[in-house]
């Protein structure tokens, strides 16, 4: 039982990181129907800014986060302005391939800055943990869960109550109507990239806290893809539920598979997100919460 609960806790904390990356993906998809495969690169670069400010310049961690978020947002806006703006109205495929290229370019820059060794994030949590009914819950896990809950809450409030959030929802729903109401759609596009980049940065921070930040973070970030596919490309709730489903099944597999199904080999848990994605797609091709596209052929 303890083992199960432990796996669950680990799963939820992993889910919070997946959710951050997936949310960025969903927000960009909703506002401009672009599949953004550059999320992992944004995570690397965002994580690097924070790491750099916190360890190389020795700033207080919260300050490093705030300035890092500003840098991440600027990165998002610059990327959108320079590479995606000219692609407005182009086929979805072309834009998706473009973001794969972007992912490569930004990753190369980020990795060149980071170097090959594992870098400490400079976070205050380290390896500390609390014991609770036989469970070991790391401080960084708690921090990740709390931070994601707060971020998601802020995001939802932003969409619900703020003028720009409303403009973003309107643009997602019907771009032409948003235009007639005086919404600047280009601002909405830029804003959605900024938000996605900041969320990816937070993903990087929590991936790297304690254990250290290195290039393999991009591989973990890539699992946001099964998450959004499971949840539905255009659903914020879907991103969160998908993250929970994928991450919990991954940690459960990591806990039990070596014992009960050793024939599947080592590291099978890494595959689990994709297996979940496959299963969901077989039965719900639009994801659990995705909008069905009704199209006359």
């Amino acid at each position: 039982m303890t083992q199960f609960l432990q796996a669950l806790v680990n799963g939820v904390s992993l889910a919070s990181i997946y959710a951050l990356i997936a949310l960025g993906f969903v927000i960009i998809y909703k506002s401009m129907q672009v599949l953004n495969f550059a999320q992992p690169a944004l995570l690397l670069l965002g994580g690097y800014w924070v790491l750099y400010f916190a360890t190389v310049w020795g700033w207080a961690f919260p300050l490093a986060i705030v300035v890092g978020a500003l840098f991440a947002a600027a990165t998002g806006v610059i990327v959108e302005r320079t590479t995606l703006r000219p692609m407005v109205g182009k086929p979805v495929f072309a834009v998706a391939i473009l973001t794969i290229g972007l992912n490569t370019v930004i990753s190369v820059i980020a990795l060149d800055l980071m170097g090959v060794e594992i870098r400490q994030m400079g976070d205050p949590w380290g390896f500390g943990f609390v014991e609770f009914g036989g469970l070991n819950i790391a401080h960084r896990q708690i921090a990740a869960i709390v931070a994601v809950a707060v971020l998601v809450g802020l995001l939802l409030a932003f969409f619900k109550y703020s003028r720009l959030g409303l403009a973003m929802r309107a643009t997602a729903f019907d771009q032409e109507v948003a235009l007639t109401q005086g919404v600047s759609v280009s601002t909405v596009f830029a804003l959605s990239w900024a938000i996605a980049a900041v969320l990816a940065m937070f993903g990087g921070v929590f991936l790297g806290s304690g254990v250290g930040f290195e290039r393999s973070a991009a591989v973990t970030a890539l699992k946001a893809l099964p998450v959004v596919v499971v949840g539905g490309l255009d659903s914020i709730a879907g991103a969160i539920v998908g993250a929970l489903l994928v991450a919990v099944s991954e940690t459960l597999a990591a806990t039990y598979q070596p014992e009960y199904a050793p024939f599947l080999g080592k590291g099978f848990s890494q595959l689990v997100p994709y297996v979940v994605m496959l299963l969901v797609l077989l039965f719900k091709p639009y994801g659990l919460f995705g909008t069905k596209e009704i199209e006359r052929v």
Binding site: A170, D174, V177, Q181, G182
Partner: protein, 260 residues
Amino acid sequence: MLALKNVEVVYSDVILVLRGISLEVPDGKIVALLGANGAGKSTTLRAISGLLDVHRGDLTKGQITLDEHRIDHLPPAKVVKLGIGQALEGRRILAELTVEENLRLGAHTARKTLDVNLARVYELFPQLKERPRFTAGYLSGGQQQMLAIGRALMSSPRFLLLDEPSLGLAPLLVQQIRDIIVEINRQGTGVLLVEQNATMALSIAHHGYIMETGKIVMDKPARELLDDEDVREFYLGLSSEGSKSFAEVKHYRRKKRWLS
């Protein structure tokens, strides 16, 4: 005064839709723009509000001016800020959002006057006031049209562009929408009314334009249009001799296809 001069619009670089049209909407007047399907009425509105880009259209000749300042080629947000509001054809409300959120969106460019405008819209449309948190997609067709007009009013426009507000509404609701347009106009807003329902449009308009295949073919005060022989016959479905038999208008030659 909102004015179009010799405006020519081309879609996808090849399809000439507006062939040099000119029209004027004076402050505080209702101007009706009539015409059959595909005459270019909606395109005219798009040219004014800057929405041509969305449809791969391009204004190739002529100019659109608001008080002598050119507003063609301005982004739609600027046009709204200058005081031109639009309710698109087919209502196009944001179905997933609530009534009040739809209205708040309309005030995107006029944040400071949000409360005043909201009160004004609720006064014009008491039915919307009863259910601000209602999901807009579940409103009835008439209420959705009211919401669309109300949303366009939230930016306190000087000119309101209405595209087929009577589309798909029951006659009684058309009456109601008609009265509302008159009331909006009475409060000082100029209206450019695009309609297929010519009877309704001409009954409230000060001036009327008739479009056919991208050209303005008639331009007269609404009262004169109502009395015009051709307009009565082709747009109002009336003629001096009462209703005609269509057999006299068009007659088809019979052919024995199966033998020839």
